[in-house]
């Protein structure tokens, strides 16, 4: 019940402070993001936030990835692959211009790829371009890329944000003033607050339906919720406050879309360190952890538990989540068999994301419960990259691997969790050699099962993509096959 004073105050305050914003014409979008991009050049930085602003909206590559994760034509309207798989002939769209008026043709492709592999290149995914031997331009609208060796994922890779086309005249300034060929052009960046884009009238393809898009950076979950409720934001495609979902779901103004991501959240173990070199210990840890409780506590139960390094979003996914059901007694017994004394001290290094910090507390309690003495060590990203990732100086850590279909990391000789399995490596080599999806499928299943069996890391859950947006808004991606907020076909309707 409102008191008189409240009512009076409310009217005074609303008059003074809440002068209602001008009713927005329904062709603009204000989209919330948790993290701000450090720069706006997807070819010079690893942060996914860069792609979440620029991918497909400002910058385009020869190919593009769609909402389902499939490769689609981008600036190249079609292509032919030579039978030996070494020559790609891309047919480029005609009449494509950059936002500054520069023309797009094959010379830009040559420039973009050469720039990515140059010695002074700071492209975070330089490896993608490693197979390229050279790029030729038989005519301005044809680009012929010759590879050194076969690369099954080449078309997919050229659809990444790191492989977008940049203009020789403006590439140097893309970090702060990105100029691409996309349907939106850059307007302004208010650091710490937002990036504004507007529809590019000279776009070569289907024009965007929205006239302007504003990406707003709101890291704090409570503030994000408040901004949505207040209508300051139209959408939050990766909503950071799962705890408020019941409230938002009950509110007919909003669409709540739970989608999938490639974020495999794992309790990574240092397999080169005792006692984690013993598979019984690793399995014991898997039995000791209640994945469903984690999902319930962190994501209101929306994060699907996983049992291997694959997510339900991936093709050929096998549900292995129940291989090690929650069973503390079994865990204790396995630990005993492996000779791990009760009270053995282990440390979990926790990087900053909330999923890691919160899982850490729960997992620590569960591992204490089976007799380990756990200490938690929260560290910054810088330290995580340096100590855990680069120098493998850790016992356990909690981390989400967000790269798509990255089963290869378990086949590497040196990777931070130090999994060494000749069996897995040979299986993976067979997979690489398999040329058809039909041939790949049993191998992919085998790889997943092998990982679940060896449990090099404890596989926890797949990060859900929680999208919350105005119920009248259509065309936003529900799933997250790659980091992007592709708003090119977003529109307002009823």
């Amino acid at each position: 019940m409102k008191t008189m004073l409240q009512t009076v105050l409310a009217s005074v305050l609303s008059a003074a402070l809440l002068a209602p914003p001008a009713i927005a014409a329904q062709d603009t979008l204000s989209l919330g993001m948790v993290l701000e991009p450090p720069n706006l050049d997807p070819t010079a930085g690893a942060a996914s936030a860069i792609r979440e602003v620029t991918y497909a909206n400002i910058f385009e590559g020869l190919t593009r990835i769609d909402a389902a994760g499939a490769v689609k034509p981008g600036l190249a309207q079609s292509w032919e692959i030579s039978p030996d798989g070494l020559t790609y002939r891309f047919h480029l769209h005609a009449g494509v211009h950059f936002h500054d008026g520069a023309a797009f043709d094959c010379s830009v492709v040559q420039f973009s790829y050469a720039r990515a592999v140059a010695p002074d290149s700071t492209n975070a995914q330089k490896g993608l371009f490693e197979p390229i031997a050279r790029t030729d331009c038989p005519d301005p609208l044809t680009a012929v890329v010759t590879l050194k060796h076969q690369a099954a994922n080449f078309l997919f890779d050229m659809g990444w944000g790191d492989a977008v086309m940049v203009s020789p005249g403006s590439a140097a300034g893309n970090k702060t003033h990105p100029i691409g060929t996309g349907p939106f052009r850059f307007v302004r960046w208010v650091q710490g607050d937002r990036v504004d884009l507007e529809r590019f009238p000279g776009y070569w393809g289907t024009p965007a339906k929205l006239s302007a898009v504003s990406f707003r950076f709101i890291a704090d979950p409570a503030a994000a919720t408040a901004a949505l409720l207040a209508g300051d934001l139209d959408a939050f495609s990766n909503f950071p406050a799962p705890e408020t979902l019941p409230q938002l779901r009950a509110d007919s103004r909003f669409t709540v879309a739970i989608g999938t991501t490639e974020g495999k959240t794992i309790l990574a173990l240092n397999d080169a360190r005792k006692p984690f070199d013993d598979v019984r210990v690793r399995r014991a840890l898997a039995y000791a952890i209640d994945r469903r409780a984690l999902s319930a506590a962190l994501f209101s139960g929306l994060a699907p538990p996983i049992g291997s390094h694959y997510t339900p979003a991936d093709p050929d996914y096998v549900d292995l989540a129940n291989i090690y059901p929650f069973d503390p007694a079994r865990a204790r017994q396995l630990l005993k068999e492996a000779g791990v004394a009760p009270g053995t001290r282990v440390t979990i290094a926790l990087p900053p994301p909330p999923y890691a910090r919160r899982s850490g507390e729960i997992i620590a309690a569960e591992l204490q419960d089976v007799g380990l003495s756990v200490s938690l060590e929260p560290i910054e990203w810088a330290q995580w990259l340096d100590r855990v990732f680069k120098r493998s100086d850790f016992d356990m850590t909690i981390i989400a691997h967000t790269e798509a279909r990255d089963l290869d990391i378990y086949a590497r000789d040196h990777y931070y969790f130090n999994y060494q399995s000749p069996g897995y490596k040979s299986l993976y080599a067979q997979y690489l050699a398999a040329l058809t999806p039909a041939a790949q499928k049993p191998l992919l299943v085998g790889l997943q099962r092998k990982l679940a069996d060896d449990e090099p890391n404890v596989f926890l859950f797949a990060l859900p993509k929680i999208g919350v947006w105005n119920a009248n808004l259509h065309g936003l991606w529900r799933n997250d096959p790659i980091p992007a907020n592709d708003v090119t076909s977003v529109y307002w309707g009823q």
């Binding site: 809440l18 720069n39 930085g45 975070a124 490896g127 707003r216 503030a223």
Partner: protein, 306 residues
């Protein structure tokens, strides 16, 4: 006076220099590589090296410090590693939020504390004095970030009058400024009260009354101006707390100010931004205290002869 000023300025500069060396050295031994944060886990060694070169991190320490300081003295704050924009631009945008916030908080706390403190002193021993001081005692004890949360709870969640966070125009500064100001006002009110009580006991106040000034006139014309001199010192000291408070409050309210910038810059090892910011913050504390000394000298003629 000129000699006094020159001496104080020299000390000021020396302190700033010492602060800059300290910050620079600490940051150099900080584990973590800015380049690997920017380029992520897939980056190859040659890419990292290229990034190091681009950032100037391949130069030795003894070259980087003088380069940094010389540039600072020219007013060039350098270019942010992560944002790739001039640090000066970043700072300008962030100061545009933090400074009004700090000033608003300071103004609110002064506007609240001085009248209340004087009032309590004038009504010493009365119920109203006890009441005001009791509330002040509570105010001193409440952490400002909790107060911030409570304000959000009341004004944003329950009443929906004001934004819970983020910067959506000046009204976004209102709650954080109140959260910062109230505990500060409580301290200031207590100091004001005891200072006024002390001066009310002074002979010159009695002299003023003997001249026929009413109690209120003697209070405001003679006791309060004298009492405010020590209060100004406290306000100067509070500035340091206010800065620290601003850093936390900006996190509570998700305001893109200097406080968030410094957390972010440290996390991303944007060393140049951290260096500039720390020197800026430490410098502003030093400068404010210097200004307080000057104000003291200006307000108290007894000190002016120094």
């Amino acid at each position: 006076m000129a000699r006094f000023l020159a001496g104080r300025c020299a000390i000021l500069l020396a302190t700033l220099l010492a602060a800059s060396v300290l910050v620079f050295l600490v940051l150099q031994v900080l584990p973590g590589d800015p380049a690997s944060i920017m380029l992520g886990t897939s980056a190859r060694p040659d890419t990292l090296a290229a990034m190091h070169h681009q950032l100037g991190l391949d130069r030795p320490l003894w070259q980087r410090y003088p380069l940094w300081i010389a540039a600072l003295l020219r007013g060039d704050f350098g270019v942010s590693y992560t944002y790739s924009v001039p640090v000066a631009d970043l700072l300008r945008a962030r100061i545009a939020i933090s400074l009004p916030l700090a000033l608003l908080a300071m103004a609110l706390s002064v506007a609240l504390a001085i009248p209340l403190g004087v009032f309590a002193a004038a009504r010493r021993g009365h119920l109203s004095d006890t009441l005001v001081m009791g509330v002040a005692q509570l105010g001193v004890s409440v952490p400002n970030f909790w107060l911030g949360l409570l304000l959000v709870l009341l004004f944003s969640v329950k009443l929906g009058w004001l934004p819970a966070g983020g910067f959506a125009g000046p009204r976004s500064l209102l709650l954080p400024a109140v959260a910062l100001a109230l505990p500060q006002a409580a301290i200031l009110a207590r100091v004001t009260r005891s200072s006024v009580l002390e001066t009310l006991g002074e002979d010159f106040v009695r002299t003023a009354r003997a001249k026929g000034l009413s109690r209120a006139a003697a209070l405001w014309r003679h006791a309060v101006p004298n009492a405010l001199i020590p209060v100004i010192t406290i306000m100067g000291l509070q500035f340091s707390f206010l800065l620290a408070g601003t850093i936390i409050i900006e996190n509570v309210f998700n305001l893109p100010g200097l406080g968030r910038l410094i957390f972010q810059a440290i996390a991303q090892r944007d060393l140049i931004v951290v260096q500039d910011l720390v020197v800026l913050l430490a410098g502003s504390v030093i400068v404010v205290n210097f200004l307080v000394d000057l104000a003291y000298a200006a307000l108290d003629p007894r000190l002016a002869r120094a």
